[in-house]
């Protein structure tokens, strides 16, 4: 069965699309990551134009983050004050990111910029995860390294506008969550990712938030940042394919349930190495695409 994607302007096999969503959901259920950083490159590989893939991925993340944030909100895991502060930064960052894409599209280099950003991000994250998990497996321990205060943390405490965030029992300058939200907003717009894979470690290690609060607040912030980015992409670049986003979300829901159950059968570092290998494979595929001489020296410039 085929489905016509109205904004990507192509027909695609429905099982393939739902299957991709299910695979990403499976990974997110198994590894506890949103999977957005893998979804956009996979969509690009099956022929969806990069700008449409990134914008529709943001829309799909709205669905996934709504579900997760609602569940965490009921459990009291959302620090609303900190989340809203980060959200202000996130929306500003999202606006900057959308403008960057607009300029790059006018120059004809948006698709290239998205691909290169992905290669660099996937290469960095994949290598770090792979070698960290490998060294943990060699040491034969699953206990994570204990957190030690860094010199950067002292610097953060000297910044102005220090505010208490009682729900997370931390005190920080307003600049820190605003900047963190801003970085994630830019990434969300350019790469179509939620940014959880960057935000979560920073919230735990830099902002010293309890893990469960970090997960809930991160989802809360991602929900609204992605919603803002989706709206801006739709109005500025006209690249949000609602049909694509909803089908991916449907597949992702099913995959997440299966992944969560299978994930319990594997050890933490085994899971991490598996995920890192997938990330690195996707990165290599994209890098080869940039380096190999293309058979044709033209590519269609898409968008409405």
């Amino acid at each position: 069965m085929w489905i016509l994607l109205p904004i990507a302007r192509m027909s695609i096999a429905l099982p393939l699309l739902v299957g991709v969503g299910a695979m990403i959901g499976f990974l997110s259920g198994m590894f506890g990551v949103s999977g957005g950083f893998l979804l956009t490159p996979i969509l690009m590989m099956i022929g969806i134009p990069p700008t449409v893939a990134a914008a529709s991925d943001s829309c799909q993340i709205v669905a996934g983050a709504s579900s997760g944030a609602a569940a965490h909100f009921r459990l009291g895991n959302v620090d609303v004050k900190l989340g809203i502060t980060m959200l202000v930064g996130g929306l500003a960052g999202g606006w900057i990111g959308v403008q960057i894409i607009r300029v790059l599209r006018a120059l004809g280099t948006a698709d290239f910029a998205i691909t290169v950003t992905y290669v660099l991000m996937l290469g960095g994250i994949g290598s770090y995860m792979f070698f960290e998990s490998l060294s943990n497996l060699r040491r034969g321990t699953l206990v994570p390294k204990s957190y030690q205060a860094s010199s950067g943390e002292g610097l953060l405490s000297r910044l102005p506008f220090q505010v208490d965030f009682p729900s997370s029992q931390v005190r920080h300058s307003l600049i820190v969550p605003l900047a963190l939200g801003g970085i994630v907003g830019i990434l969300a717009a350019i790469m179509g990712v939620g940014g959880g894979f960057i935000m979560l470690p920073m919230m735990v290690y830099l902002l010293r938030m309890p893990m469960h609060k970090a997960v809930g607040t991160s989802l809360f912030q991602i929900l609204f940042t992605s919603a803002g980015v989706t709206f801006l992409q739709a109005t500025t670049n006209h690249t949000v394919d609602l049909m694509l986003a909803l089908l991916l979300a449907a597949g992702s829901t099913i995959g997440a349930q299966i992944g969560a159950r299978l994930g319990r059968l594997l050890r933490g570092d085994q899971l991490k190495i598996l995920l890192a290998s997938i990330v690195l494979l996707v990165m290599i595929k994209m890098a080869v695409g940039l380096l190999m001489t293309p058979s044709l020296k033209i590519t269609p410039a898409r968008g409405l």
């Binding site: 085929w2 027909s11 096999a13 669905a63 919603a227 109005t235 609602l242």
Partner: protein, 262 residues
């Protein structure tokens, strides 16, 4: 009673017969395209098409399906250091958006090269049609890349011997063609041309219009995204949120039931 010349008696019949033959020769070939309108709805993945009609006995048949010609913008790829990047844009126009050529015999057995060129049925004549706003020295390569791109996309299919000829009868020679309208066919007016060929020349031809129309949900989404982008962006967010909260609602109820059962 005066005796009349027999030739004078038969002359009107001869003239009538000649007139009938002439009329038969110029009568357009009969063509029926089914369906006459292709609707690209939500589940469009190409459409099964049938073209059938009646030609004169002994003729070869060529069927050409030609899409509307529209300018299209492409990124030009160039090498910067070790990587391939977009180095600019180029607008390509003049060529049809879709071109499929089917025949009852190989094209060069149906028509001579001058006629193939006249009807733009071979690569060389198509290449001449392609216009670009690029520098003169790049035009030839860009035209070649454009034609290769269209062939790779499945938009150009230039030589398929798949027109089926039936047994000739006093009414003529029945022909039929079954083919798949590509998934990539965009909305617009397409032209179906049937050429009857003999001795390397076109002896008769007929044109029929085929409409491809975007309908249903994809048409609604595409027009909303173009014409009411703010509303479309807002609705996209609301629908995605509703889907997420709906999933959470279902999941929480299922989970609570399971807990209650334990």
């Amino acid at each position: 009673m005066s005796r009349r010349n027999p030739l004078l008696l038969t002359l009107p019949f001869l003239l009538l017969s000649l007139l009938a033959q002439t009329l038969a020769a110029v009568e357009p070939a009969k063509v029926e395209v089914t369906p006459s309108t292709v609707k690209t709805g939500t589940f469009y993945g190409g459409a099964k098409m049938r073209i059938a009609g009646m030609a004169s006995a002994g003729n070869k048949i060529i069927v050409v399906v030609r899409g509307p010609s529209a300018a299209r913008v492409f990124n030009k790829l160039g090498r910067v250091g070790p990587i391939w990047v977009n180095t600019g844009k180029v607008t390509i126009s003049g060529a049809p958006s879709l071109l499929m050529i089917f025949s009852s015999a190989p094209l060069n057995a149906c028509l001579n090269s001058a006629v193939l060129d006249q009807y733009q049925l071979d690569l060389a004549s198509l290449k001449k049609q392609v216009q670009t706003d690029a520098k003169a020295e790049d035009r030839d390569r860009l035209a070649y890349d454009f034609l290769a791109f269209k062939a790779k996309q499945g938009d150009y299919r230039l030589n398929s011997v798949s027109v089926h000829l039936g047994a000739a009868s006093p009414e003529g020679l029945p022909y039929s063609l079954d083919f798949q309208m590509p998934r990539s066919a965009t909305s617009g007016k397409y032209q179906v041309s049937v050429l009857e060929c003999r001795d390397g020349e076109v002896v008769n031809h007929a044109d029929v219009e085929l409409a491809v129309v975007e309908v249903g949900f994809p048409a609604l989404i595409a027009s909303m995204a173009r014409e009411h982008s703010s509303f479309y962006g807002f609705i996209s967010v609301i629908i995605a949120m509703a889907a997420g909260f709906g999933i959470d609602f279902v999941a929480s109820h299922v989970f609570e039931r399971k807990v209650a059962a334990h």
